[in-house]
């Protein structure tokens, strides 16, 4: 995801697309590993907030919001492995489409 963010910034420097990671509540011990070598914001969920329930998400969902902060679409990385070039390109295309760039 970090590479995808950098790629979008390089190719579309004026684009307003930001990827944010959310580490599941109760998994704080894995933050160092999750953040290692990455520059993306990594938010730590907690029981009092529980964003996973609030947004009714599935593990490894990427929830995309449009410019109005409204739900745009979901892209799950378990069913769409980003190590496959086609899946990676599809997510990138979805983000660019949300921004009206393709």
């Amino acid at each position: 995801m970090d590479d995808l963010q950098k790629e979008i910034v390089e190719e579309y420097p004026d684009s307003e697309i930001q990827i944010i990671g959310i580490n599941g509540a109760g998994h704080e011990s894995g933050v160092e590993t999750a953040a290692d070598g990455r520059d993306l914001p990594l938010l730590q969920d907690r029981e009092g907030v529980d964003v996973s329930s609030l947004w009714d998400v599935t593990y490894r969902d990427v929830i995309i919001l449009d410019e109005q902060n409204e739900y745009y679409t979901t892209y799950n990385l378990t069913s769409n492995d980003l190590s496959e070039a086609e899946k990676y390109a599809a997510l990138k295309a979805t983000l660019l489409a949300a921004a009206g760039l393709n």
């Binding site: 995801m1 684009s15 307003e16 697309i17 930001q18 990827i19 944010i20 990671g21 959310i22 580490n23 599941g24 109760g26 998994h27 704080e28 011990s29 894995g30 933050v31 590993t33 999750a34 953040a35 990455r38 520059d39 993306l40 914001p41 990594l42 938010l43 730590q44 969920d45 907690r46 907030v49 964003v51 996973s52 609030l54 947004w55 998400v57 599935t58 593990y59 490894r60 969902d61 990427v62 929830i63 995309i64 919001l65 449009d66 410019e67 109005q68 902060n69 409204e70 739900y71 745009y72 990385l77 983000l95 949300a98 921004a99």
Partner: protein
């Protein structure tokens, strides 16, 4: 070619005619006279026509060349003249002061639209103003006050990414414009909000609390995972 060949023989024919008159053969002389007259007419008339045609073509070409040049020059001159006329005097100066460029607003809030306009020749009130949004269309046409302040208020605005343009036109037709962009969202359609701390030491927002609302006006992708 035929006429040219016959014309070369014109003096010979005239000599022959004189010879025949010596024999007082009136009828034959009259016939030869007609033939000679016809040949003389054909030679002088044909050459004259060709010369005239040539001269006419040359004249036409000259006219065309001159005419084309003249027309082009004339058009250019006219266009330049029109441009000069249209460009007479500077354009009005326009500056939008509100809403804020790049701002994000709820659709049901009060929107204050304010700008400053001025013109070198016309008074501010004389300028024709048009506030236009790419989302809604024309928002307002009210004139400014004597100080050049253009102002109006809306109690709501359609959700969307607005490009707002204010144009001011003076009495000479000169147009000055200013544009800004801002986002308007519908609070009823927003995703549920939250605020969590950024725990990545190398992130630009490290130790800040981040919310989806921080990304209004932008595309945001929220990846839900957990690392062990």
């Amino acid at each position: 070619m035929l006429f040219s060949g016959l014309c070369l023989q014109g003096p010979l024919l005239a000599f022959t005619l004189r010879g025949m008159r010596a024999f007082e053969n009136r009828y034959l002389a009259l016939l030869w006279g007609f033939l000679l007259a016809f040949l003389a007419y054909s030679c002088t008339g044909g050459e004259g026509t060709q010369e005239n045609d040539s001269q006419e073509r040359q004249q036409e070409e000259n006219n065309n060349q001159g005419g084309d040049d003249g027309v082009d020059d004339g058009n250019d001159g006219e266009a330049d003249g029109d441009d000069d006329d249209e460009a007479a005097g500077p354009n009005p100066v326009v500056s939008i002061e509100s809403p804020e460029d790049g701002g994000v607003y709820s659709k049901n809030q009060t929107f204050v639209f304010q700008a400053q306009v001025a013109d070198a020749e016309d008074s501010p009130q004389a300028l024709t103003l048009e506030w236009r949004s790419n989302v809604f269309g024309v928002l307002n046409n009210q004139s400014s006050n004597s100080q050049g302040v253009a102002y109006f208020v809306l109690s709501s605005l359609m959700a969307g990414n607005h490009t707002l343009t204010l144009s001011a036109t003076d009495s000479d037709g000169n147009v000055g414009t200013d544009s800004i962009a801002f986002a308007v969202y519908d609070p009823n359609n927003l995703v549920a909000d939250f605020s969590l701390e950024d725990v990545n030491p190398t992130s630009a927002t490290y130790e800040e609390f981040v919310s989806p609302r921080d990304y209004l006006g932008r595309i945001s992708a929220w990846y839900f995972g957990h690392s062990t």
